[in-house]
């Protein structure tokens, strides 16, 4: 959408210059959260680096702290030890430079129409001037094909449409990184696949950076360009793999099968883990 992004896309497919491209850095991050009874360690000394333009997927079984890690990048949870930086600045609080898309449909404000939902964060953050914001809102609505539903309240939309609004809302703000917490997990299988393809098409257009949490191996391979695999209880880095650009068209290809099998092995035959892997 923005000038910077277009330039980036214009200067070639792969921009492999080193440090300048490192957008999100996670260094030895240990995360803990409290339930009324317990202090739970969600992740232990996790390190990873997300480059600009990455479709970085965090994959792991439930209980591996992947959502907690994403929330920490979002600034909702402070690490007990370690450091998270985005564009060189340490993450200390939530902010509109890291927009989050959640799994739940309630993330939209039910008292605002689709257009108002997308406009509100622009207004609340004061990031864009009014005129500018209006055009951005319309562009964002058009990008996710919701022009016909711009003045409709969220409760009248289908699950997929709500998710598109959430994505449009996040992208309209042009965050440094888009944080997606299992965004399609609550959708039916057909809609999920369609949304994955739409998301990839948007990425092709805009080349934004996203951090995408999922527990589906297939989704990780299709959506991701790079996959971080976490082992459960507490979440520790098991592997970081290149997913290349495999899509649903390649499901039957040997590469897809090999990668999928490899991930499966890494996930479920975790050597050196104190406990058994949790149920999926």
């Amino acid at each position: 959408m923005g000038v910077a992004v277009e330039e980036h896309a214009g200067c070639g497919e792969r921009n492999v210059s080193a440090v300048a491209d490192e957008l999100v850095q996670v260094r030895d991050v240990t995360l803990q959260y409290k339930t009324p009874q317990h202090l739970v360690t969600a992740t232990y000394k996790v390190s990873c680096t997300v480059d600009r333009g990455d479709r970085y997927v965090i994959l792991g079984p439930s209980g591996c702290g992947k959502s907690t890690l994403l929330k920490a990048v979002g600034g909702f949870i402070r690490p007990v030890s370690g450091r998270i930086t985005v564009s060189g600045r340490e993450v200390v609080a939530p902010g509109p430079d890291r927009m989050m898309v959640f799994q739940e449909f309630e993330q939209l404000m039910p008292w605002k129409t689709v257009r108002e939902n997308i406009r509100f964060p622009m207004w609340a953050t004061g990031k864009f001037r009014r005129q500018d914001a209006e055009t951005r809102v319309e562009q964002a609505i058009a990008k996710v094909n919701l022009t016909r539903f711009a003045d409709v309240y969220p409760h009248m939309l289908s699950g997929g449409m709500k998710m598109r609004v959430a994505i449009a809302r996040a992208m309209a703000l042009e965050p440094d990184v888009l944080l997606m917490d299992e965004p399609f997990a609550a959708l039916d299988a057909l809609t999920r696949r369609q949304m994955q393809e739409e998301l990839l098409a948007l990425w092709e257009q805009l080349r934004f950076t996203m951090l995408f949490v999922t527990h589906s191996i297939e989704e990780a391979i299709v959506v991701g360009s790079r996959i971080l695999i976490l082992s459960p209880h507490p979440g520790r880095v098991r592997a970081e793999l290149d997913a290349g650009s495999l899509s649903y068209a390649d499901v039957d290809s040997p590469e897809f099968g090999t990668l999928s099998k490899r991930i499966h092995e890494l996930l479920f035959e975790t050597a050196g883990s104190p406990g058994k892997p949790a149920c999926q």
Partner: protein, 300 residues
């Protein structure tokens, strides 16, 4: 079950018969005639809430009239026509309107004061844990305390007159509204809170732009309960010491009529109290409900 009902010549292990696949265009549906048809008048009427209520009301009035005529004691139980007549008379000569307006002024003051205090307290409560603890303790203590029970105290503090009534009304509104609002705030979905914070909203802005609209169904319920409490408290307070101010309100009107043994007027006064309660509920609150929670799909 299907095994039991299967014909005897069919065995469980019979090889599957090859069945042809079927792919076809949907058959022509124009033969059905009308796809959508309006229901009959009677059915539509019986589906209409207002129509059903009017019928119940008319039945009630007829029963009242018949019983009152049969009982034949105008002093204890006037007929509907007598009550309606008394009501109409005092409505025409302005007495009822005057009394109602006198009642509404402290009511508005007390209601607004209660809401303002409730807003301040719940905002503090939702932004700090201590505030929440304090508010919880206070609502637990004061919510069950009938407002009319602190009227004597209020009279000692503020003397006879509007201030004491306003104080009692504030008490009756505050805790009910605060309790509902706080419950509503606590029920706001986690993701909605997180996305609000994602935009960098904090403090008052976070409460005003995220929590209040998100909790609006509960807040509205609180406003309704608060209104009912306030109205009841007011009428009760006026019955206790309506004489104080130069012109009494509706409660005083009822009290006065009783002293004069003018039972139809007592009924007319009670009828006015009911009428105003209904009016606020079904006009004002209904309109708010329609424009907010119903339009937003937060309530059916």
């Amino acid at each position: 079950m299907s095994v039991i009902e299967a014909p005897p010549n069919m065995t469980l292990v019979s090889p599957r018969k090859a069945r042809p696949e079927i792919v076809q265009e949907p058959i022509d549906a124009s033969g059905i005639g009308e796809v959508q048809r309006q229901l009959g008048l009677w059915e539509r009427l019986s589906n209409n809430d207002a129509a059903r209520r009017v019928v119940i009301l008319i039945a009630f009035i007829i029963a009242w009239e018949l019983y009152a005529r049969w009982a034949d004691s105008p002093l204890l139980f006037p007929t509907f026509t007598e009550t309606a007549h008394a009501f109409w008379e005092d409505l025409r000569n302005g007495t009822l309107l005057d009394r109602t307006l006198t009642s509404l002024r402290p009511l508005a003051l007390g209601y607004m004061g209660g809401l303002a205090l409730a807003a301040i307290l719940t905002t503090i409560a939702v932004l700090s844990r201590i505030g929440a603890d304090v508010l919880s303790a206070f609502t637990a203590m004061f919510n069950p305390l009938p407002a009319i029970a602190i009227l004597p105290l209020s009279l000692m503090w503020f003397g006879l007159g509007t201030p004491s009534i306003v104080f009692v009304i504030v008490h009756s509104v505050l805790w009910a509204v605060a309790l509902n609002t706080l419950t509503g705030f606590r029920g706001v979905p986690e993701t909605l809170r997180l996305s609000g914070r994602n935009y960098g909203l904090r403090g008052i802005r976070y409460v005003g732009y995220v929590l209040v609209p998100a909790a609006f169904p509960a807040i509205l319920a609180g406003l309704k309960i608060g209104w009912a409490f306030a109205w009841r408290t007011l009428v009760a307070a006026e019955l206790v010491f309506g004489v104080s101010s130069r012109s009494g309100g509706l409660g005083w009107y009822v009290f006065e009529a009783r002293a004069e043994l003018d039972t139809p007027k007592v009924f007319a006064g009670l009828f006015s109290v009911i009428l105003i309660g209904l009016l606020v509920e079904s006009v004002i609150f209904r309109a708010i409900e329609y424009r907010t929670v119903q339009r937003w799909g937060m309530q059916n």
